[in-house]
């Protein structure tokens, strides 16, 4: 799996984020108060405005502590009923329809059908639910206000906090229910969709020189693939890995009555728990160095030369006999870059060496042949025999007291290169339950959903429904592209070191109309200066907006689930806390804006 940046441990992240979050909240509150004061001043004059703002602020804080869960539940029930009245369940029906016809759109020949199915259901649920709660949350309050039904509520002893929180809670409840139902159906869809079996025709058992025991079997084709499996002395064997899974094969009967029974697909839906290490590279002289670029545009992987002292070394921590009593199971995936053809029919040779981080103890190299774009694995027994006949315990010999161990990857063919990234190698700690991992995928959708509801309700407290819809939609869209917008803004502010060509919105428009290449300078003399200055102003606003809205692309656990990795607790806890913090801020804002509206009324 591609992991550009390994997640920070939750506590470390919390400490770092807390400072940033606190600063952001303070700036935001001061800004909001100032904005509220300005608005009030504009309407009621300076002193009256100040008085009203102060009153709202203090009352707001006071009211916050007087919130009644009972009233919130009552308000939430109202919102829930309203949502049902608005036929939100139709979206669920749409989802079911999508699942029914998904077979038309999904690539049946995909080499990773599991990934495709999981990404498909999670992505479609995500967009459907976000669209649903977006519409639901922005139309509710404005309609009530417009139809004056809000008076039936506000004339009761209900506080503005409860109005805002109640709505958010109600919509969250209905959204959660729909998500739950979608999750159950999606799980069923994925499991059923991938379940398959193969039949073995005994005529397809043939001799093979490559296999101990001499025979190799082949299953019949099903779901666009077949498997090969060795037939040896054992009655139980495993097929090869194809399309991300394998099957168990059991031999039954003897002689002419021999038949083979293929079990269900294994490892197609897993939640592996990896333990990553820290990666460093050695150059051809064996000195620490930056990896080589072989010219790929994507610089995720670094390359090192084969047949020299160059190597990639991962240092893993916590490799203790208590955790891995039998041995180590390492997984890796490497990219190969050949500078000469070599033997076309063979992969490039490489080797693994275990090394002590502090002394010169190194295991004999364990050779392997490269397999590109697929996960390769190796089980290293805890004790193994050296060429000298001596038996060594890997934990005693190659790990230090803190459980640190180095894993050295070398490419053995001269002139060929291996390319690796930090997350391309890991120690397999174990597997978690796939269903629970799948649920975590839905948790990320749930967090996004609460954010959208919060923003929708917040905008609808002071904007008319269509405008609130646009504002929320704009925020969500911006939320998916915050990093890009920030990068673009920096490029516009500092054209000398720009990473994105083409300039800001006005410059881009001119380029589009004139069909100008982005790499050509906009040569309009003084006009260029004016255009770029205007672009900088526009981008400053965009940048501010991008900083304020939550980065939706970070609330993404789909990749983990689809690629068969357990979503680490660090990741989902971070997302949950960040999501709830944003929701809290948005709720506060909603409260004050609603109060402002009351003041205005």
């Amino acid at each position: 799996m591609v992991v550009e940046e390994l997640p920070l441990p939750f506590i470390e992240w919390l400490v770092q984020s807390f400072r940033y979050g606190l600063a952001a909240v303070v700036v935001f509150l001061i800004g909001s108060l100032f904005f509220g004061y300005l608005l009030s001043t504009f309407r009621y004059g300076a002193s009256e405005g100040f008085y009203l703002t102060a009153r709202v602020m203090f009352r707001g804080v006071g009211e916050f502590f007087q919130i009644s869960p009972r009233r919130i539940i009552a308000m939430a029930t109202l919102a829930f009923k309203e949502a049902i009245r608005r036929r939100v369940l139709v979206s669920f029906a749409v989802f079911i329809a999508i699942l029914l016809f998904a077979g038309w759109f999904l690539d049946t020949e995909s080499t990773q059908p599991g990934q495709l199915y999981i990404s498909f259901v999670l992505t479609s649920s995500n967009f459907l639910v976000l669209a649903l709660v977006l519409l639901l949350s922005v139309f509710s309050l404005p309609t009530d206000i417009k139809q004056k039904t809000i008076y039936t509520v506000v004339t009761k002893p209900v506080r503005a906090w409860e109005v805002v929180l109640g709505r958010i809670a109600g919509f969250c409840a209905i959204g959660t229910l729909i998500l739950l139902a979608m999750g159950v159906f999606s799980y069923w869809f994925v499991v059923r969709g991938l379940a398959h079996n193969h039949v073995v025709n005994t005529d397809d058992i043939r001799s093979s020189e490559l296999i101990e025991g001499g025979l190799e079997g082949e299953t019949l084709k099903n779901k666009n693939h077949f498997h090969s499996f060795p037939v040896d002395a054992n009655d139980q064997s495993k097929t090869d890995m194809r399309m991300g899974h394998w099957h168990g094969v059991t031999r039954q009967g003897e002689g002419e009555n021999t038949s083979y029974r293929v079990g269900p697909a294994q490892d197609g839906l897993v939640a592996r728990v990896p333990q990553y290490g820290k990666l460093r590279f050695l150059d051809r002289t064996g000195a620490l160095a930056e990896p080589i670029s072989v010219g790929y545009e994507w610089t995720y992987r670094g390359y090192f030369e084969g047949g020299t002292l160059a190597a990639a070394i991962w240092r893993l921590e916590g490799i203790t006999p208590e955790k891995f009593s039998d041995g180590l199971e390492i997984f890796w995936s490497i990219s190969v870059f050949r500078t000469h053809k070599g033997d076309i029919e063979k992969g490039v040779s490489g080797s693994w060496t275990l090394a002590h981080p502090e002394n010169d103890n190194q295991s004999p190299p364990i050779p392997f042949e490269s397999k590109e774009f697929s996960l390769d694995s190796l089980y290293i027994e805890r004790e193994f025999e050296l060429a000298t006949g001596e038996t060594v315990d890997i934990f005693k010999e190659y790990a230090d007291d803190k459980g640190r161990m180095d894993f050295i990857l070398r490419c053995d063919d001269r002139g060929q290169y291996f390319g690796v990234a930090q997350a391309d190698f890991y120690q397999h700690v174990g597997d978690r339950n796939f269903a629970w991992n799948f649920a975590k995928g839905y948790l990320s959708i749930w967090i996004q959903m609460t954010l959208v509801i919060g923003m929708g309700v917040m905008f609808s407290t002071f904007l008319s429904a269509p405008v609130a819809l646009l504002a929320t939609l704009g925020s969500v869209v911006m939320g998916f592209f915050t990093s890009h917008v920030k990068e673009l803004a920096l490029s516009v502010f500092n054209p000398e070191n720009s990473t994105i060509d083409g300039g800001g919105p006005i410059e881009s428009l001119i380029r589009l109309v004139n069909q100008m290449n982005v790499s050509v300078d906009l040569d309009l003399g003084f006009a260029t200066t004016v255009i770029q200055a205007l672009d900088a102003v526009i981008m400053a606003f965009m940048w501010a907006f991008a900083v304020m809205v939550p980065d939706f692309s970070r609330f993404d656990m789909v990749r983990y689930v689809a690629e068969g990795f357990n979503v680490p607790a660090d990741v989902w806890c971070q997302q949950l806390v960040a999501g709830l913090a944003y929701s809290f801020v948005v709720t506060c804002l909603g409260y004050f804006l609603l109060r402002t509206r009351e003041i205005a009324a």
Binding site: V2, F101, W104, F105, L106, D107, E109, S110, T111, Q112, Q115, L116, S119, K221, E297, W298, Y300, S335, V336, R338, K341, G342, D343, I344, E345, G347, V348, S370, K371, E372, F373
Partner: protein, 611 residues
């Protein structure tokens, strides 16, 4: 006006707009009892005229139609986003997602031929090479081909796609670095055969090669035939099907798209490549000879095919010799109308040359100085007597009229012959024609077979047997060069020279002298320019084993070295081996795609005044 009135006005305007729309998009109705047929509105008529209705283009895919409708006219935007995503996934090497995205793009734009072509190429050529394992590479090459074939389902009778499928089957499987492995994989790929069987008529008989298994070149040949058939039957032009009628309306558009000569050379080249591949794989004798015979026959048929030129007249590649002989005959007749006139004009022209040019022309060829070379060429050009000049000088009105007719005929035929020559050069027509003939000869079979066996024996340590095979091969090669001496100068002969070096090395291993009466001395001398003459040195150091320097052992049987046609211009002497492959065809393509309008004057009487 108040708001209500505005609303009424808007609705009235909308209704008014509906009227012309419904009028022009009225559907057509077929003839029925008691009722005449109705061609429908303007849109329906145009749809019928250009065969643009979805059902006429190819299969209708419900998923595709649903997606198009669901996007409410935002198809273009969606397609753009998907293209960007596909590029991103390619960059980040996320192949399953890239393929899924390509599927979505083709769902959105099933009749946009370039999408199929571009992405099919992308998968077969660009994605496949990202994989290190050749089996994975074969898988992706196959996926690209399957993708293209899918495209032909949604775009029935689309020659551009059909031709590309043929090209991929042939060139990508048969000419890649891993062609040995790819061809072998293809042979045993029953699943893929099952898939292709649905598209190719009588797949099991017409597409099989050695071992009675499907051969990629023969399958390629079948697809070329399918592409050709769509054009020959008039269902499509080489430019494509959907725009056919529009092109007919715009003659200047006709020459766009693939050159007819390249398009129609496909089937012949596929069979030639098939025959050549057999020799590489050690398949000789009757099987190989009959393959070359079939290839030769298809190549001759290609030469007889009428091909439209960029000047909108038709030529046949086989007619050049006939045209040249006719021109000679007619020129002779023209000269006889007033005996001595041609010589008289030539002398006058010669006299009118400057002293410098005259001197260059009169100097014997072997004494021409470096400065005079250009001058001599110029002088020779200036003294050529054109038929028009002859016509002008004839005073008798009756004879002059006859001369004018002759001059015009000569001019026409010269232009034709020039075009035929140029079009022949594009596909290296003469070279392949000669090669098909030579390869069927017993000597060629012997030469290649024994060289192949010798290399194998040498590699496997059967040195004496290898020596015997080499010597039989040299005998056969010597016979070939005797019959076709022009072959000695061909670049393809380098393979033979390399084999001689391996033989030299073998003799070293056997501790024997290189034979002084070696029969291929001239060939080796020509290519090595005298730097390597093992027969002259007694006790010389034997050539290093070139075969062992490469990882794959001795090169396989060399192809027969035959020079391109003698009439080919300088610069056309590209490696004949490549004449049918990507590089040479691609290089030739611009000439064929563009205008081939200029008619060289060299060696041909100038008749432009008479046109």
């Amino acid at each position: 006006m108040n708001s209500f009135q505005w609303k009424v006005l808007y609705i009235a305007l909308m209704a008014a707009l509906l009227l012309p729309i419904s009028y022009i998009s009225r559907p057509s109705t077929p003839p029925r009892k008691n009722a005449e047929s109705d061609p429908g509105g303007w849109l329906a008529q145009k749809r019928a005229q250009y065969d643009l209705a979805q059902a006429n283009l190819g299969e209708i895919d419900p998923a595709s139609e649903t997606m198009k409708l669901a996007l409410l006219g935002m198809r273009g935007v969606a397609a753009n986003i998907l293209w960007t995503k596909a590029n991103h996934y390619k960059k980040t090497e996320d192949w399953p997602k890239m393929m899924a995205t390509l599927e979505q793009i083709t769902n959105l734009q099933p009749n946009f031929i370039s999408v199929w072509q571009f992405q099919g190429w992308n998968v077969s050529y660009n994605v496949s090479v990202e994989f290190d394992n050749y089996l994975h590479r074969y898988f992706w090459v196959k996926r690209g081909i399957r993708f293209l074939i899918e495209g032909t389902r949604y775009n029935r009778d689309e020659p551009r796609l059909l031709w590309d499928v043929a090209w991929f089957f042939g060139q990508k499987i048969g000419r890649a670095d891993e062609h040995k492995q790819f061809r072998e994989e293809f042979r045993k790929d029953d699943d893929f055969h099952d898939f292709v069987r649905d598209y190719v008529i009588d797949f099991d008989n017409r597409s099989t090669g050695p071992f009675n298994k499907p051969d990629n070149w023969r399958v390629s040949h079948q697809w070329y035939l399918i592409a050709q058939e769509t054009v020959d039957s008039g269902r499509a032009t080489m430019r494509g099907r959907s725009l056919q009628s529009m092109i007919e309306e715009k003659p200047h558009e006709r020459n766009k798209g693939k050159s007819p000569v390249l398009f129609h050379s496909g089937p012949g080249m596929a069979l030639i490549n098939y025959s050549a591949a057999l020799a590489d794989e050690g398949i000789f004798d009757e099987f190989s000879e009959s393959a070359w015979a079939e290839a030769g026959s298809v190549w001759r048929s290609f030469g007889n095919r009428e091909i439209r030129t960029s000047r909108d007249f038709y030529i046949r590649l086989n007619e050049q010799e006939e045209l040249e002989s006719e021109v000679r005959e007619l020129t002779k007749q023209l000269g006889e109308l007033q005996p001595g006139l041609v010589e008289e004009i030539r002398l006058e022209k010669r006299e009118s040359l400057s002293e410098e040019l005259k001197l260059a022309l009169e100097t014997p060829v072997d004494q021409v100085t470096e400065d005079q070379v250009q001058l001599r060429v110029e002088a020779e050009r200036l003294v050529v007597v054109s038929p028009a000049e002859v016509v002008e000088r004839i005073n008798d009105e009756v004879i002059r009229s006859k001369a004018r007719w002759l001059a015009e005929t000569i001019n026409d035929k010269v232009i034709r012959a020039t075009f035929v020559g140029q079009y022949r050069d594009i596909v290296n027509f003469d070279y392949w024609r000669t090669r098909c003939t030579v390869e069927q000869a017993e000597d060629a079979n012997q030469a290649k077979k024994h060289l192949y066996l010798a290399d194998n024996d040498h590699r496997e340590g059967r040195l004496l047997q290898a020596q015997r095979n080499y010597e039989i091969a040299w005998e056969a090669w010597a016979n070939i060069y005797e019959k076709y001496p022009q072959l000695q100068e061909d670049v393809g002969t380098e393979d033979v020279v390399n084999a001689v070096k391996r033989y030299d090395n073998l003799l070293g291993q056997l501790d024997q002298e290189f034979p002084a009466d070696f029969k291929l001395k001239r060939v080796v001398d020509f290519h090595e320019r005298g730097r390597y003459r093992p027969w002259e040195e007694t006790g010389h150091t034997h050539s290093p084993d070139h075969s062992s320097s490469g990882s794959e052992g001795p090169a396989l049987t060399p192809s027969l070295p035959i020079a391109p046609d003698q009439g080919a211009k300088e610069g056309d002497q590209q490696a004949p081996e490549d004449a049918g492959n990507e590089s040479s065809e691609d290089a030739a393509a611009p000439a064929a795609d563009g205008e081939v309008d200029s008619v060289p004057e060299e060696g041909i009487p100038d008749a432009s005044d008479n046109s």
